[in-house]
Structure formats: structure tokens, C-alpha cells
Symmetry: C2
Subunit: 197 residues, 2 copies
Amino acid sequence: MSSPEIERLIGLLAKLPGLGPRSARRAALHLLKRKDTVMLPLARVMEETAEAIGSCGICGNLDSRDPCGVCADPGRDGAQICVVEEVADLWALERAGAFRGRYHVLGGVLSALDGIGPEDLNLGGLLARAELPELREVILALPATVDGQTTAHYISERLEGRDVAVTRLAHGVPVGGELDYLDDGTISAALKARRPV
Amino acid sequence: MSSPEIERLIGLLAKLPGLGPRSARRAALHLLKRKDTVMLPLARVMEETAEAIGSCGICGNLDSRDPCGVCADPGRDGAQICVVEEVADLWALERAGAFRGRYHVLGGVLSALDGIGPEDLNLGGLLARAELPELREVILALPATVDGQTTAHYISERLEGRDVAVTRLAHGVPVGGELDYLDDGTISAALKARRPV
């Protein structure tokens, strides 16, 4: 159909999340029509970013520095560590701007089905950080799925006996959300955790 | 939030069609987690493709050769030229596999609103090709929008007086489509162009 070079580009673009074969074709055409203004700059930025960015040795965040910006910031509260599954979750919490402690990125959750055990996650680092004298609280911001909750349970067990509070995010009605569109589990959880007005 | 390098990558990815800011962030993270298997190969393929691919001097198709594969193929029928707005439309027709003639890519359609006049389109090349003795038919496969139809009308006027048939694609019910979901204009057009069974 189109030339093998273009097909190869489409094939690689189609591997990006959010791009199927059809939208990858549109993206490839968009790039080819804007070689000098979009395609080559994007290729160069991808190479530079791949070179510059690495995982933070302390928390697993992605940054050009190691330790990362959050771990190196003296203004962040070392008494709290928020445990997340992925860097995307860390970014989401940072966007909300509601947390001023530090993070720990597991890089996944335990999954018997996918064969992901504790040794596949960044758990050793978390247990080492749990020994730090300033640490008071570990907040488990893990997904509310079976695997996420299994992981949360596993971590809270491993942290038992230490002088550290282990908490999790509240379940409830999303702000701006309508009851009619919520699943039964969330409504039950929100009702159980009801608060005085 | 995240480092400026990552923000720059997200900003460029968000310019691709089909990727908004949120999916660009997911794509950037996907790339950063697969630097050697996805990110660097994609960057390299983008640079190689930008280098290799250019517009066909005859029809405007994108290919690594000039004339392109379609124009250079002696098996294609030189008596028919199918005029399309964009290379994507040419690809769509090639995927359908129903046309064995040659193409002409306009690179847009006339638009008074966007200030696109005849001199902004690849029209001179089409009129020159219309002089070729073997040409019998120009098929206008332009979008069924006001601008597309204006362009089709303009081209058919410019081709008047030449010994060349000017045709357009049929309007009608899409194959597999249901009447209930079709707009009134399409239903009227399909009724008017009804055929004996």
C-alpha cells in the first residue's frame, strides 16, 4: 500500500497507548507533512529525553536528576511516604497539589495471574526507607482493584511492628460525581464512611 | 511537576492528532519505561523516514521513490486519474483495492473561509496531466462537504472542452449501514440514485 518506511513508522506509532492502527496512520501522515517543524524536533527530543531521564534511586520517580526533584527538595515532609503503583500516579498526586511528603513508586502491583511477586516490585527500597527515624506514616495510594488491595495488605503486613502508621486513600463519591452513575461498591463504601456535616 | 525534559516531550506528543494532553502523558510514560525497545527505535525510524520519504513529483503521493510506486507501476491504467484531497484518501482507496488507475493529490480543497485558493493546491500538475493523450477519465473523489464540492465543481469547469470524462464518487447508503442511523441528505441522495435490482 504505502512504502515500507511509512508502514514501519505506522507500526511503531501504533504501539503507543491511545493510538490504534487507524490513528497511527493519521499521526504518521501528520508527521510526514510537517517533517521539519514536528517530526524531526520530536525525534530529537525523544533521543535527548531518553538520554537525560532516569529512575530516582530512592523513590523510583522519573527525573533528569538522581535523587529526583521531590526526594531532593528539603521543603518536602520526610515524615510521610505515599506509595503508588506507577509514576503516572505520582504525577496525578502532584497535579492535585494536596500532598507535601515524599513518594515511593512500586513499578506495579502483586499479581498471581501475571506472575508478579514481591521481588518484581521496588519493595526492598520501601522497607529500607521505613527504617528512617523521621518516618511517621506510609500512605498506600494503590489502585482499588483486587491486585492493588492485595499489594496494600502485603505492604501493611511487612511494615507491622514498626512505629509507623499505615493508611490508605478514602473511598467515596468523586467530587462533582452523581450517585446515579456510581457503582454499588463505591456507594456502599461512601455510606459506611459517612462523616458529620 | 515532572522534569522540564518530560514536559517538553509531552508537549510535542500532544500535538499529534488523536493524542490529547492526558494521552500524551500516558504515551510519554510508556516511552520512558521502554527507552531501548520503543523510544529510541521510534526516534530513529522517524529520522530515517523523514530523510527517505518525499512527495511524488507527478501525483503528490508520499513515497521513498519519485515518481512514486503507483506512478511508476506500468500495470496501472493511465487512462484514469482519481483526484483526492489528501494522501490519507489515496491510502484509503488503495486499501479498498477497487481502483487500478493513477492518482492526483490536491493537498487540500478550496476554502474561502481559510483563504485557500486554486494557487495553494496542486492543480497545475493536474491540468498538465489532463493533456496526456491516454487520459480518458478524471474521477473526483473529494469530500462531500461544501468546500469539497466547490473544488470538484471548479476542477470540472477547468477540464471542460477537453476530451476527458469527469465523474465523482456515488452518494448512497454505506455498505452494512442502517437507514435509521443515516442523515436525511444521504437517504435522499440514495433514493434519487436508486438502481434496478
